[in-house]
Subunit: 225 residues, 2 copies
Amino acid sequence: MGFLSKLTQACTMGLPFLPEDTCAKAPQVAGIKVQLETFELWQQFDQLGTEMIVTKAGRRMFPTFQVHITGMDPAAEYVLLMDFIPVDDKRYRYAFHSSSWLVAGRGDAAVPGRVHFHPDSPARGAQWMKQTVSFDRLKLTNNLLDDNGHIILNSMHRYQPRLHVVLVDQRKDSQLTAHRNFCTFSFTETRFTAVTAYQNHRITQLKIASNPFAKGFRTTDSDTW
Amino acid sequence: MGFLSKLTQACTMGLPFLPEDTCAKAPQVAGIKVQLETFELWQQFDQLGTEMIVTKAGRRMFPTFQVHITGMDPAAEYVLLMDFIPVDDKRYRYAFHSSSWLVAGRGDAAVPGRVHFHPDSPARGAQWMKQTVSFDRLKLTNNLLDDNGHIILNSMHRYQPRLHVVLVDQRKDSQLTAHRNFCTFSFTETRFTAVTAYQNHRITQLKIASNPFAKGFRTTDSDTW
DNA sequence: GTTTTAACACCTAGGTGTTAAGCT
DNA sequence: AGCTTAACACCTAGGTGTTAAAAC
């Protein structure tokens, strides 16, 4: 089995969600620090209840998940990838009259678990640390039969994005040590509800105000963010 | 020294230009066949004397260098890269009155030799063979101090693009066998003169007629290609 | 009634040759 | 004179929320 296949398995199967960063004790990953970029923007969305559009063809996230990394071994090789785990086993619906989310029953059947490898992977620590690492190519879809490698999510369900930093072990015949030499980072500010159409109008307005691609919908009064 | 550094050195230094494809006898590269895509278009340009624009910021090639590959080991890993070698040691100028290229003296000082790695490298044979491999991200520049990793060329000089297919040897502590386990392919139809502005008006017309990005300059009479 | 889809106008981002000015 | 540069209008390609219709 190839490296990526093994890694995919390891990352989608056995990893429990932990609210804090988890690092193995291997010297080349233990010291890694990850800082969420555009943190203030994520916070603004989070306070309103972030929503992310999912479409059949795949939709980018906004805000984009991007991080600044320190503490890697500059010469060592790492793979960076993201996955999304359900926050709970509930389905939600939005009550427009009260402008709030309500639990609408148990979660739907789990979708095919997928991961998104950062396209620069694998690369050396020096490269990852040189500048902001952006996952802007990542797309979300609600198409269970998606054939483009996009992340599949259930609409009206809540998800927590996670970042995994995996050390590529160069030693010949080493068992892939993905279960040991990796770190997992999650930022609770990046949680969101997957939707096919925006529910909370204030989320729509914040997206329009902050996403350059939505500039066409800006009015003078929504410019103040 | 890293893999790519070694490879870069190996490819820019010691490789003599050969008009025919050259393959080492290693079983995983000896059977590789490479077919130039959009061959007819390249031929049309070649018959007129292909010109490629070079700019300070970097300019794509048109036609794009793209190939279809067969005969790889589907499970083996390969790196694909391109370089450009001078066809001769001459400088050219275009005689408008006779619509032909003339030798204008000896070639200028050689530019920094660079290679362009296909961004999907390294990847398995199965991946490379699955669909057309396109080098559309490759850019040509005349800026000797270019900092973007673009291919540096002398304007008014003739060049031959080359494709190198390098087998990535997975064995630990194997000396990098780039000097043995690789193939080089060149297609004489892809030779061109680097220019900062088009010289032959028929080349301009064929570019306008065939490059979608130049559609704005099409007239009804140049549509017939 | 709620959720999803597809077409759409309006953007960003960047690839074209043109053109006029600048360089040597 | 020959060659190069930079601004430009006009494209391609694709990321936005909107909207009305469709699906369930």
